[in-house]
């Protein structure tokens, strides 16, 4: 549950800070400012920006009138939240039991090798982020890989390579 290293130079993030803050403000305006709204707000911000920028977390803390440490604590507790930008495409490999016994480790290994990154990392060109997920609940089609929102079932290492190849063509 640790925080991985930023994959982008900090100065780029600083340049975008102003735009980010105004986007976050827009989101915050639709909330009442209650503590219970913290998780929904973080989800909304991440949905819009793809990650939770540090400056944004401070802004959310001020809006909800809670310590920054509380917001940071919640943002780092839940696996869904990312504190660094992710790739344009997210490939998620299921590591559920059904998938595991049907060969998910080999699928993950193939994708890691093809992309040259490990699970939890993003390619340097920001094209792909590779993640593992506890379970998608599509166990009957194991092993399962989800690319962005599309579910691919009954995967093999070969099919996994083909998904990447298809994306590259686009």
């Amino acid at each position: 549950m640790g925080i991985s290293q930023p994959t982008r130079a900090p100065e780029i993030i600083r340049e975008q800070k102003e735009i980010l803050l105004s986007q976050i403000n827009e989101i915050l305006e639709s909330y009442k400012g209650e503590k219970a709204e913290l998780i929904p707000i973080l989800q909304k911000v991440q949905q819009k920006l793809g990650y939770l920028p540090e400056a944004g977390l401070k802004q959310i803390a001020r809006y909800l009138n809670v310590p920054e440490s509380t917001v940071f604590g919640v943002a780092t507790f839940y696996a869904q939240f990312k504190l660094v930008p992710t790739g344009r495409n997210t490939i998620r490999v299921c590591r559920g039991t059904g998938c595991y016994v049907r060969g998910a480790p080999q699928i993950l290994e193939t994708l890691e090798r093809e992309l040259g990154i490990k699970a939890g990392e993003t390619t340097p060109d920001l094209e792909y982020t590779l993640e593992t997920v506890a379970c998608f609940g599509s166990c009957a089609l194991a092993p399962v890989v989800v690319v962005n929102d599309r579910v691919y079932g009954r995967m093999t290492p070969d099919k996994a390579k083909k998904i990447l190849a298809r994306k590259e063509e686009k």
Binding site: I39, V101, A134, C135, V151
Partner: protein, 626 residues
């Protein structure tokens, strides 16, 4: 509009569709169906029908449970029993449209079975098939039959009759009815539902909360997703009945964000309930006021635990707290709170619709009713199943599941996810009920049932589950945070050939300490997969430790791949497929694996043509070919 009027309209609409002269096509569009390609099938059907100039009604339904045969389509022609077709692709469905909808040939060669009155030659009755015959559908009663996005479909099939019935009773009478049914919590622990409600009902305070736990986190389990996607209102009706019984006017559904389709279904359902006067003030003309909010989880397994879930809804880190006080006394915002899981709520609506006595007619003395399972892993027919309590594991795995896939032999079945245990072949005749499974060292759990065959290494399975619980431990209790880490380190040593004498004993001791030293069920049950695999498969642990051998040929550092020179035909397929170029040899000459380069990925074994069978995996013995 009164509920009676809504019901009359819904039934009229349902009758019209049932008696329509147009053919109807039902297509399974749950997450699994879509992943298997149901979207393409849907498009193809629409296109083919238009081409043929046939008017038909296409209805998108939830999961019918025959996941092994996805994508699935049910075709109903007026005056004939409906026909199910499985394992479809666009070509096959085009043929079916042409042959059965344009023509009159139901294509017995492609059909799985029929449903409804009458028979079609050459096609068996669907519910006579071994996969469905032992099943009893109570929680899943409407899944696959109705359009979950249309509240009228649910109402026309007896939906919200249970709520109407409950609202005519006193809250205490509703609780008594649920007690009489014998229903126990389907989230895993099996606490009697009526009793749980009684505690919350009796707790002092005007404001009370009710929560539907849809944070289905066990890897290998998808019953609750399928239920929410396939029959959303069955769950919501149960939640309303529970709210009335305990005296809550506000409810929450805590659902994991990994289930986007189920969330969409819930949003639509809540909207429809408002329109029908089933949410808000004075529901069905009674004095009962109630509203529901959806809370999306954010990817923390521990939030399935009641007190952690409450913390998460309040906007905090989802960490459990000591009990007592139990949520029934002090839960959400410090108020009395009742939490039940998705499947429990779907059973509640059935019980109030059809009566406690009817419900208690299923199951065993202490475990009443039915239980859903997601039957997955190395079984021939994977699926979402619902069986009466008391059925044996053997009947499920060999009857419904059709035995082990690829002709291999059974090794173990895992129930209860990371909190459960692995049971060996000698316990296949264990009946599925709360007490029997617990006595065997596993638990009922929420319904994940993962079948493992001879190629699954039990030490590695224990390591796998511990990797999961160790990562998901919230870190509050020292034993759970650090004890699971120590256990995982030992298991990693064993599976990579660094196991030591005494490791098994140390695992047993640590396992007990983690159980004793953890506040919540996550830590309290995390050692179970390790403890049960040691109990039933100790020989596999010993082989890893003292012989450096993995009997299942799974743990890579202990496996050697070689090419049998007698059998190798020099086809070169393995050499081309090897990702690290460890295989050398000329065309039509014997190939050799360079053991110093080999990463033991097993690709060569899987690509070597079966008619040669030249690649051999061994463990625990020195390489015979260099």
């Amino acid at each position: 509009m009164q509920f009676e009027d809504i019901k009359r309209q819904a039934m009229a609409q349902w009758e019209t569709t049932q008696n329509s002269t147009k053919p109807r096509i039902l297509i399974g569009m749950g997450t699994c169906g879509i992943a298997a390609g149901a979207g393409d099938i849907l498009e193809t059907i629409a296109r083919e029908l238009e081409k043929a100039g046939i008017k038909a009604e296409i209805i998108q339904v939830g999961c019918i449970g025959l996941c092994y045969a996805e994508p699935l389509v049910e075709v109903i022609k007026p005056g004939k029993p409906s026909v199910f077709y499985g394992n479809l692709n666009p070509e096959l469905i085009s043929e079916i449209v042409k042959d059965y909808l344009v023509g009159d040939n139901p294509r017995p060669d492609l059909a799985l079975g029929t449903r409804g009155e009458g028979a079609l030659e050459g096609i068996p009755k669907l519910f006579d098939l071994p996969v469905l015959k032992p099943q009893v559908r109570i929680a899943l009663r409407n899944c696959g039959n109705i359009d979950p996005a249309d509240i009228n479909h649910y109402i026309a099939n007896g939906g919200y009759d249970g709520l109407r019935h409950a609202l005519k009773m006193k809250p205490q009478e509703v609780i008594d009815e649920v007690k009489k049914s014998g229903l126990r919590g389907r989230g895993g622990a099996g606490f009697p539902t009526g009793l749980k409600w009684q505690f919350c009902h009796d707790a002092p305070g005007k404001t009370k909360y009710i929560i539907c736990n849809a944070d289905e986190g066990d890897p290998g389990a998808f019953m609750d997703r399928a239920l929410l996607e396939g029959d959303t209102h069955a769950v919501l009706e149960g939640l309303l009945i529970g709210a009335y019984a305990i005296g809550a006017s506000e409810g929450y559904i805590y659902i994991r964000a990994e289930y986007p389709l189920a969330i969409r279904r819930l949003q639509v359902a809540l909207q429809q309930m408002h329109e029908c006067g089933l949410l808000g003030k004075r529901i069905m003309g009674s004095g009962f006021n109630f509203d529901i909010k959806i809370k999306e989880g954010a990817g923390a397994f521990v939030c399935g635990e009641e007190t952690a879930m409450i913390a998460s809804i309040e906007g905090n880190r989802g960490m459990p707290r000591p009990r007592p006080p139990f949520p029934a006394q002090s839960g959400l915002w410090g108020k009395p709170t009742n939490i039940n899981n998705v499947e429990t709520w779907a059973n509640v609506s059935a019980i109030l619709q059809r009566g406690a006595d009817w419900y208690a007619g299923y199951g065993t003395e202490k475990s009443k009713g039915t239980k859903t399972f997601s039957l997955v892993g190395k079984v021939e027919r994977t699926g979402l199943i619902e069986v009466p309590m008391g059925i044996t594991l053997r009947e499920i795995i060999y009857g419904i599941g059709g035995g082990i896939a690829e002709g291999k032999s059974f090794k173990a079945v895992q129930t209860g996810g990371p909190s459960g245990g692995c049971l060996p072949a000698s316990l296949l005749d264990t009946p599925v009920d709360y007490e029997s499974l617990t006595a065997a060292g596993a638990i009922m759990g929420s319904g994940g049932m993962v079948v493992m065959d001879e190629s699954t290494c039990m030490v590695d399975v224990a390591r796998y589950f511990l990797t999961f619980t160790q990562a998901e431990s919230c870190g509050k209790c020292v034993m759970c945070r650090l004890g699971t880490k120590q256990m995982l380190d030992i298991l990693e040593d064993i599976t990579s050939g660094r196991g030591k004498e005494g490791d098994i004993e140390l695992l047993l001791e640590l396992g007990q300490a983690v159980k004793d030293g953890s506040l919540c069920a996550l830590g309290g049950t995390a050692p179970n997969p390790v403890l049960t695999t040691i109990r039933y498969f100790r020989d596999e642990y010993e082989a890893h430790i003292s012989e450096r051998r993995c009997p299942a040929l799974f743990c890579r550092p202990l496996v050697t791949y070689q090419i049998d020179p007698e059998k190798c035909q020099g086809c070169g397929i393995c050499a081309r497929a090897c990702p690290v170029e460890a295989i050398s040899g000329h065309k039509r000459e014997v190939h050799v694996i360079d053991q110093s380069k080999c990463t033991r990925c097993g690709t060569c074994l899987s690509v070597c043509p079966p008619r040669f069978g030249a690649v051999v995996a061994t463990s625990g013995e020195p390489a015979t070919v260099s």
